[in-house]
Amino acid sequence: MAGNCCCEIQISFDRMQAVGRRSMGHAKECGIILPMILQKPTAIFEGLRSDEDEDRWGYGWRCYCGIPEQSFRPDGSSARPYPGQVYLVFVNDEKVTYNWRWEKADPDDPRLPVDHETRFKQRLL
């Protein structure tokens, strides 16, 4: 995946295969929404907090946020984005994306996930 300016994000082929096997909708989320969020995020957070393993989930692990132009049903048909939700893409410290999903948005700022103040160590964008 080519980034907008200077950052190249990778995804494993195993992960692409696993997601593709779920449904057309999941494949389109990965194939269409994922690059859009990575290239045009509304916010980027760094340092995913976790009491279980603080070092591993510390600096370098990023969360890209955004509101996609569409959502996808299991059959692959498109619909409006889910109201009150934001899309998050997680990237590890080796710049490999490993998880992406919808989450509830902060009612005060729908471009950000709920609890963003406490979940991350710092905001980069």
């Binding site: 995946m1 080519a2 980034g3 190249e8 990778q10 494993s12 992960r15 692409m16 295969q17 696993a18 997601v19 593709g20 096997r21 779920r22 449904s23 057309m24 909708g25 999941h26 494949a27 389109k28 989320e29 990965c30 194939g31 269409i32 690059p35 859009m36 290239q39 976790s50 009491d51 279980e52 393993d53 591993r56 989930w57 959502s71 996808f72 049903r73 299991p74 059959d75 692959g76 889910y82 939700q85 998050l88 997680f90 590890n92 080796e94 490999v96 994306t97 490993y98 998880n99 999903r101 919808w102 989450e103 509830k104 609890d115 979940r119």
Partner: protein, 140 residues
């Protein structure tokens, strides 16, 4: 490895896509995130963090629990096997039933979980039992 255009990436993903009718429940360990992702239905979902270990997935269509993400798997495996060495017998050929991971989390909690968290775990355990899924259990 050369970067892929958005169009090429989307086309590659669609070549890998299968109809939802062919979906089978899965629980897959991802070394890039050191996490296990469990999905019991092909629905689109939204996620909610339950605790430091588990994020639960709810169906966008039905609001039912349909999966989860288990984070920090290496550390959790080591902690569980140290606290409950007998768990080792549930690991066969490096694989373990997902339901045991959820139960192990509850049984090794330092304090009784809040009612809402316990309820979410109960739902996850039920979905994992119904799905009969196994996953890789790394102890390294």
């Amino acid at each position: 490895m050369s970067p892929m255009s958005n169009r090429d990436f989307a086309e590659r993903m669609m070549l890998l896509a299968r109809p939802a009718e062919q979906f089978e429940p899965t629980a897959i360990y991802d070394p890039d995130g050191d996490c296990i992702e469990f999905l019991a239905k092909p629905d689109s979902f939204y996620a909610e963090r339950v605790d430091d270990l588990v994020t639960v997935y709810y169906s966008q269509e039905t609001q039912e629990v349909i999966g989860s993400l288990i984070k920090g798997v290496r550390g959790f495996s080591q902690k569980i096997l140290k606290a409950m060495p007998g768990c080792q017998i549930e690991i066969r050929d490096g694989r373990v039933r997902l339901v045991h991971i959820f139960r192990a989390r509850l049984w090794t909690s330092k304090a009784a979980p809040e009612r809402s968290i316990a309820l979410t775990y109960e739902k996850l355990i039920k979905v994992a039992e119904d799905s009969q899924v196994e996953t890789e259990m790394c102890s390294a």
